[in-house]
């Protein structure tokens, strides 16, 4: 695996000049994923922040072949690209070794793109799907998604006089992907380049469908200071709000265990979307998030304990 110095000397495959916000975590994810994947990579993207900010005609940030077709179909689009590749290789028309990576936000992955993603995973295409999960529809202005945590303030599940933000827990998409029996699934964060790039490298070394759910702090939608993006990601791991782990052939391995598991309030208090949760009268909401986080973490520890340790 390349160290930071080596990575920084690579040719940029996702260049600057895009229209991402200051402190955008999505572009960080795209850049680091491509650093790990290298130039022999074809990218497909769902409609969303990443696509909108990086491909305003006649400009593009992508120094690798890139295709966007619609919102709900990155899984199917990259399937078509990979199928063509397989056909050409079989026909002896093409011999370059390629990676196929699809990017989708949580809206394009958890919600509208779930069917297309599920189909692609079930069919076993040799692809890596990376969800840059910022827990809401940020491109359209912070609407709630299936990934939005309970109690968060979004524009379609707002905090009001009688409602207290989103009323449902977030969906566990990583578990859904694991349930597809794919050879590699993982969770990572924007803010830990080593974790992300090593998981991408590992995923791409495996034949078949792979999925990485990358937790991506969004300064606009979560409302925090732009210089805190990486910190917000690391805090999500330190509080176990977003555990870092990977599942290889069904065997769980937690790739980061915080020495001291911080309370979720440490992460919550830096974000405007949880402002309401911090009011004393809403303590139950904060407690609920802590309990949800603890339950998920304990369940994960058990799954790891029940797994065959990886080499």
């Amino acid at each position: 695996m390349a160290n930071l110095k080596e990575l920084s000397k690579q040719k940029e495959l996702f260049t600057g000049g895009h229209r991402g916000c200051a402190g955008c975590g999505a572009v960080m994810v795209a850049r680091q994923v491509l650093m790990a994947a290298g130039p022999n990579t074809v990218v497909a993207s769902a409609t969303g922040c990443l696509e909108v900010i990086s491909t305003i005609f006649p400009f593009t940030s992508w120094n690798v072949p890139f295709v966007h077709s619609a919102f709900e179909n990155a899984g199917a689009t990259i399937s078509g690209v990979e199928a063509l590749y397989k056909s050409w290789v079989r026909q002896g028309k093409y011999d370059k070794k390629l990676n196929f990576i699809a990017f989708g936000g949580d809206g394009g992955t958890y919600d509208i793109g779930l069917q297309s993603l599920s189909g692609a995973m079930e069919r076993g295409h040799n692809i890596l799907y990376v969800c840059y999960n910022n827990e809401a529809y940020m491109n359209t202005g912070v609407q709630r998604s299936g990934a939005t945590p309970k109690g968060a303030d979004t524009t379609t599940a707002p905090v009001g006089k009688v409602k207290k933000g989103k009323e449902q827990y977030r969906k566990d998409l990583t578990a859904i992907m694991i349930a597809h029996g794919i050879p590699y699934a993982a969770q990572s964060i924007a803010g830990n380049w080593r974790d992300l790039t090593s998981k991408v490298e590992k995923a791409l070394s495996i034949e078949g469908p792979k999925f990485i759910n990358v937790f991506q702090p969004c300064r606009l939608g979560w409302s925090f200071e732009p210089e805190l993006t990486c910190e917000m990601g690391r805090l999500a791991a330190d509080t176990c709000v977003w555990p870092l782990f990977e599942v290889v052939d069904g065997q769980y391995k937690i790739t980061y265990k915080p020495k001291v598991k911080k309370p979720v309030s440490e992460w919550v208090k830096l974000q405007g979307r949880f402002r309401n949760m911090l009011k004393p009268e809403n303590k139950a909401l904060l407690d609920d998030l802590q309990n949800f986080t603890d339950r998920q973490w304990e369940a994960l520890l058990k799954k790891e304990a029940a797994s065959i340790p990886q080499a």
């Binding site: 130039p39 022999n40 074809v42 497909a44 696509e51 909108v52 491909t55 305003i56 005609f57 006649p58 593009t60 992508w62 120094n63 690798v64 072949p65 890139f66 295709v67 966007h68 077709s69 619609a70 709900e72 179909n73 899984g75 199917a76 689009t77 990259i78 399937s79 078509g80 690209v81 990979e82 199928a83 063509l84 590749y85 397989k86 056909s87 050409w88 079989r90 026909q91 093409y94 370059k96 390629l98 069917q115 297309s116 599920s118 189909g119 079930e122 069919r123």
Partner: protein, 392 residues
């Protein structure tokens, strides 16, 4: 003319046969009645190693078209088949495919749209996507379905415009007919290798496909796509002329049947054109000067060819196998009227909406339409829009 093989084939089998001979790089498809057979038969070809195709059995028609878009953008030949609700579900992606100028070919077996749900023929599905930027070619029978498919791939790749080839559900798709199939090698050399100008898998020229166009570029790109459709007619004629040389069968944007000296004419597309030809022969035997205009190509709409063909006709009936639910005539009639208006041709044009949801169209009904037309020539008023064969 090359040696042909005479076979008994249904429309679906004929289309699958054409696809086998075209040997596309990728077929992505999802089952739907009555088109299922096309891709089912094709999957058999894949299983038997008769084609080089990567078959992607997707989880929806939306994904079928999305995967075709991915494969086509990557540089390959991509095809699919569908019907009705499947075409409706694809609709979003049909616009994307044509906007990206990807030469995908789609076999559509015409079937009514829900609701109520119905699996039988009408043209509502194809008409629903008539503005999607796809060339639309209608087939009268299984032979035309086969011939149109072989020509479609060449048309699409030359024009850089995707093509829908239609048959009529069950009537053509499941009807067994005598058809002539070309030799594999003849089709292979007619179709030739696909050489895309720009494609994803070309790492010597890295491209971004599907970029965001804002008000400073979108209009120009749409204008180019519109122009490609406008000039596709000439390409369709060129391809037809090449096809005539290998098959002996000639095709145009439209077909005229006993039209040149006719007083009255019916305009009809698809299988009904075949029925109309028999009605015409019956009436001609009685000395009535009647004829047929069959648009083969509905997109691009052959406007001037249609008005030229109809200029000496005294009364015209358009048979619409779908209803636009727009408070006025069906889609084909409206466009025929617009074509006539451009040439200042003011004559009776009657619209017959018929056959919805597979309702049978009989010979006597078509003969009665001609009677209506002769009455209209005499100046006897007649409803402008008739729902033919419906209980009211």
């Amino acid at each position: 003319m090359a040696k042909s093989n005479i076979l008994a084939r249904t429309g679906n089998e004929a289309m699958a046969e054409a696809m086998r001979q075209i040997n596309p790089d990728v077929v992505a498809a999802y089952p739907i009645t009555p088109a299922t057979e096309i891709v089912q038969i094709f999957a058999g070809y894949v299983a038997d190693g008769l084609v080089d195709t990567e078959f992607v059995p997707v989880e929806s028609e939306h994904s079928a078209m999305s995967a075709c878009i991915g494969a086509s953008a990557a540089g390959g030949r991509a095809m699919t088949g569908t019907s009705s609700q499947g075409l409706a579900l694809m609709a979003e992606m049909l616009y994307v495919a044509s906007g990206l100028r990807l030469p995908i070919v789609l076999a559509d077996v015409n079937r009514a749209l829900s609701s109520p749900i119905n699996i039988h023929c009408d043209h509502s599905d194809t008409m629903m996507v008539k503005e999607a930027g796809w060339i639309q070619i209608f087939s009268e029978n299984a032979q035309e379905a086969y011939d149109n498919m072989v020509q479609a791939i060449k048309i699409a790749e030359t024009a850089k415009v995707p093509v829908i080839v239609t048959t009529d559900g069950f009537i053509i798709s499941h009807g067994m007919e005598r058809i002539e199939i070309l030799d594999d090698s003849v089709v292979k050399s007619f179709v030739g290798p696909y050489k895309p100008e720009n494609y994803l898998l070309n790492f010597d020229k890295i491209i971004t496909v599907g970029a965001l166009d804002l008000p400073d570029y979108y209009f120009e790109h749409r204008r180019q796509a519109a122009e490609a459709m406008r000039t596709a007619g000439a390409i369709i004629m060129d391809v037809a002329s090449g096809y005539q040389k290998i098959s002996g069968r000639s095709y145009g944007l439209l077909e005229k049947y006993k039209l040149d000296d006719a007083d009255c004419a019916i305009v009809a597309m698809g299988s009904t054109a075949g029925t109309a030809k028999v009605a015409i022969d019956n009436l001609r035997a009685k000395g009535l000067k009647v004829g047929l205009l069959k648009p083969r190509v509905f997109r691009p709409f052959p406007k001037s060819e249609i008005s030229d063909a109809l200029k000496n006709i005294k009364a015209i009936a358009v048979m619409d196998r779908s209803d636009s639910m727009n408070g006025q005539e069906g889609p084909v009639c409206l466009e025929v009227k617009a074509a006539l208006y451009d040439k200042s041709l003011n004559k009776p044009v009657l619209d017959y909406i018929y056959g919805l949801g597979g309702r049978e169209i009989r010979l006597d009904e078509i003969e009665n339409i001609y009677n209506d037309l002769f009455e209209a020539i005499k100046g006897k008023s007649k409803d402008k829009i008739t729902y033919l064969g419906v209980r009211e």
